[in-house]
Symmetry: C2
Subunit: 249 residues, 2 copies
């Protein structure tokens, strides 16, 4: 069944209007009709089964009929990634949603080229991926900040998996073995790597764990997907039993 992310509150019997894009998608792309059902979620009220009530010129109106799943949220892991080229940042937004990141933070490092980012567009990509992947929230995407500022404003209970391509760190699974549970963040550098001064700073952060992603050079999007995968497998909700939907916000 089609799943849509909406902004409105969701409650039994309270009709809501879908936005123009979603209305167009339902009617013109997916050929849905009055009486058809659609799942909706908003990141707060769980997933609701709704029925299409109006297919008007002003858009589609749906009415929630039953809550399918109560609200649940994955483990608290952020993806912090250097601002790379637009196509790769867009891939990262999509994959962060599929792989259960809670937030995506873009950082400007010494070797980052200034790229224009449209947070609204990245958020739309993340929302669409969240719809398809079955999660009940959408990762929040933040405006780019300088790495130095990100570090200044760090909230220390959160640990940082620093993906360090320089090579003397442990592999991610070894680095995470026995490590603290969430909250965590995963840091992926730009394709030219971190500067020596940045590496020194990052290595000295008391909350940082350096780790390598194997013997080959990875593009930033690949590194982000690989690191999130390993984190979820070792510390997150890809482990057996313990995490699946248990953490209710």
């Amino acid at each position: 069944m089609i799943r849509l992310y909406v902004a409105a509150d969701l409650a039994q019997g309270v009709a809501l209007a879908l936005d123009q894009g979603q209305s167009h998608y339902l009617v013109s792309v997916m050929r849905r009709a009055v009486g058809d059902e659609v799942l909706v979620f908003n990141g707060r009220d769980g997933e609701w089964r709704t029925t299409i009530e109006v297919l008007g010129k002003r858009g589609v109106i749906v009415r929630p009929t039953a809550q399918e799943r109560p609200q649940a949220i994955g483990p608290d892991v952020d993806l912090v990634v250097a601002l790379v080229k637009r196509a790769r940042v867009e891939t990262i937004a999509e994959k962060a949603a599929e792989l259960g990141a809670r937030r995506v933070r873009l950082v400007i490092t010494e070797r980052t080229n200034p790229e224009r980012t449209r947070i609204d567009r990245l958020s739309a990509i993340a929302a669409e991926a969240a719809e398809q992947t079955g999660r009940l929230d959408v990762p929040q995407i933040f405006e780019p900040v300088k790495l130095s500022r990100l570090i200044e404003e760090w909230e220390p209970p959160r640990r940082l998996l620093f993906c360090d391509e320089a090579g003397d760190a442990k592999p991610v699974l070894d680095a995470l073995a026995g490590a603290a549970p969430a909250p965590w963040a995963i840091l992926i550098g730009p394709e030219g790597g971190f500067s020596p001064a940045e590496r020194e700073t990052l290595r000295n952060l008391p909350y940082a764990t350096p780790a390598t992603l194997g013997p080959r050079i990875l593009r930033a999007d690949t590194a982000a997907i690989s690191a999130l995968t390993l984190w979820q497998a070792a510390r997150g909700d890809w482990r057996e039993g313990d995490w699946r939907g248990l953490e209710v916000s």
Copy 2:
């Protein structure tokens, strides 16, 4: 330094002509001149440092001056992936090269839509990714075959990590704990999943290990990247020490 994959044999002092695309890239894009150095590899003779000798109308000629690295090859792991939409197959070819897959096999399953594939284009994408990622070979990409034929022709010492979205299998890291070393293959289904009959067949193969990739639905390209990452981390050359460049062909 720029790295290029070439078809020709490589030996000390034996000049070779680069193809048109590579010549254009060196001269017009990267503005290289006579006397500049370029690294080349062919998957057989290791990585060679070469010097640009001629920048002519017919292309660039380089002469190998020193072998930088002897030939080495990563662990023997194939990525077997259902034929999905072209853009996602292209992503998979790129990422398979970065993540050290030795071969990419495309399969046609019951729920696969017929898509045209251009193996030459996919191979060019894989070669370019191999140049950037630093490996000394390029994954071989095979024409699509039916899943039933792939199974008929299976060579049994090779094990199969069957990524099964149906949910009752173990997580990949648990499934791979203590498992046999390479050769392995990783199987990723189409976005509509395998049919019940296909799942039954796959689960009953004596060389297959079913495993899940977490609680969210992943697109085929994400699943391929995640599964290869976990395989490399658990059984391949992302482990500490033992694999890095040791297996010389």
